[in-house]
Point group: C2
Chain length 230, copies 2
DNA sequence: AGGCGCTTGTGAAGAGGTGCACAAATCGCG
DNA sequence: CGCGATTTGTGCACCTCTTCACAAGCGCCT
């Protein structure tokens, strides 16, 4: 489930706050989900709660980290050390979440050799060697969109089977390779859609615009993420 | 639907490539979705295709932009001009997607006054004035997690009803305010989960680990995003 | 030791998304 | 003008995910 990482983050926060155990209700609040959904999720990985008490925070953290394969740090290769790549490379919050940026790669030779956060930028030609040396298991693409597919192909060719893509384009990869995409413009556009919907609802309860604003079919807000009330 | 922005991006790419019309199959391929799903999505906003021909690219772009409320540029305020904030502020790809970063705000007075991409960083105390001056409709939070809730409260207080949150925490907001979260560590952890699953499947067809790797319930890959084959 | 309150785990119902398959519609061409 | 090729729009079945509601289990207090 894609909610496990969210639970994990909430559990770490609870552990830091000194909680030994947590009820499904408490953890659900901290993670922003329904408590029944959370219990069902946790039951899928083998039910480690105690009725009447709740879940042992430390034990549950171990459980989830084991399921997610975070028992040891995973090495990540970052391809494209530009605007966004610099921010990612300079971010120190990945280590506590189980990841280590182990390599920085770029095609621009004028960037090669630059040091960021103690890591030196290497040329993308060295990808194969770097992946082997550092046991890279995940590749992050932060290049412009036109280069993203080529970079993905190279990553796949050297054996990387998980890719996080920041370029606004769809990647074609063979079966067995997982790709996740982060497109900030899409997130903004979804918010814009909600803004637009809210504006036309408050301003025009009946169809009042030039005919296009009010949708006939309904088109309710059917996104993945949701906001919870106060 | 949250897929509309993806369609829009694919349509712009097709328009740049000179296509006048596109079939549902072609657009579905470019957007990485099923063609039936795409047709059903488009039919929800009023069916503007011609049978036997396909969809008019320019018309469909106008349609989707109208639905998303992108007919005019939306002004965005970015709060927290640190590591990540700099990358976002320096990114010029938002303008072509319908957004304009109209304000940079930070609590650190030593950052106030700094210029990025022609924009001056202002103190977060000026949030109220800036939001009114620039007709801000969306707020982006790129502060550390402990400050995110306070910033969100301030944004809501000055009338912002859509928030994009990069801090790894859940935000509580009143009803009517939309929040979307981007957590890169969560994306990496989902990839890690798939890596872990692939590894245990290839190495141990039957239960062979210390009992925790192989999940009893099944726990198939049930994420939002998916990879398509070549 | 027994009862009581609290919490988990889960069955079942409901809702919504997905994809197939096909009828309806349009264009181009003879 | 008529026909075939092509593509849209959609009814329908399937399936997953979500949520409610409640029995079973556990600890604590008396
Ligand atoms: N900067 C942001 O805030 C932001 C926001 C949303 C999306 N994005 C996307 O992220 C990607 C990167 O954005 P950016 O602002 O960092 O761009 P950028 O131009 O600053 O950096 C791109 C880097 O990739 C390198 N590169 C180009 N081709 C390469 C190749 N074939 N192999 C390896 N490296 C290569 C370039 O040398 C450059 O250093 C883009 O696709 C952009 O659309 C960025
Ligand atoms: N940098 C990354 O690549 C990256 C990756 C994933 C997540 N994040 C998250 O993004 C957020 C920002 O990361 P960063 O690396 O830019 O951190 P950063 O420390 O470099 O920048 C944070 C900025 O926010 C400002 N700030 C702090 N409190 C504020 C307040 N109350 N109001 C306004 N501004 C305030 C600080 O002055 C600073 O300039 C963090 O929550 C981080 O976890 C960053």
């Amino acid at each position: 489930m894609s909610r496990l990482p969210e639970y994990l983050r909430a559990l770490h926060a609870l552990a830091d706050a000194g909680h030994e155990t947590v009820s499904s209700e408490g953890l659900a609040n901290a993670a922003g989900v329904n408590s029944a959904k959370l219990r069902k999720d946790l039951s899928h990985l083998g039910s480690y709660g105690t009725r009447g008490v709740g879940y042992d925070v430390a034990l549950l953290i171990d459980q989830i980290e084991s399921v997610l394969g975070l028992t040891q740090c995973r090495a990540v290769a970052l391809v494209g050390v530009g605007n966004l790549g610099h921010a990612l490379a300079g971010y120190d919050g990945f280590a506590s979440r189980g990841f280590r940026i182990a390599a920085l790669l770029d095609a621009d030779r004028s960037r090669v050799g630059e040091q960021i956060n103690g890591l030196v930028v290497r040329h993308v030609d060295e990808l194969s060697r770097v992946v082997a040396e550092e046991s890279i298991s995940i590749g992050v693409i932060a290049t412009p969109a036109p280069a993203a597919q080529a970079v993905a192909d190279e990553l796949v060719a050297v054996g990387v089977t998980s890719i996080l893509n920041f370029a606004p384009c769809v990647l074609s990869v063979p079966d067995g390779v997982d790709v996740r995409k982060v497109d900030l413009a899409i997130e903004l556009q979804i918010l814009s859609f909600h803004e637009h919907r809210k504006a036309s609802l408050t301003a025009l309860p009946a169809t009042g615009g030039p005919g296009l604003a009010a949708l006939p079919g309904g088109l309710a807000a059917t996104d993945t993420q949701e906001a919870i009330g106060t």
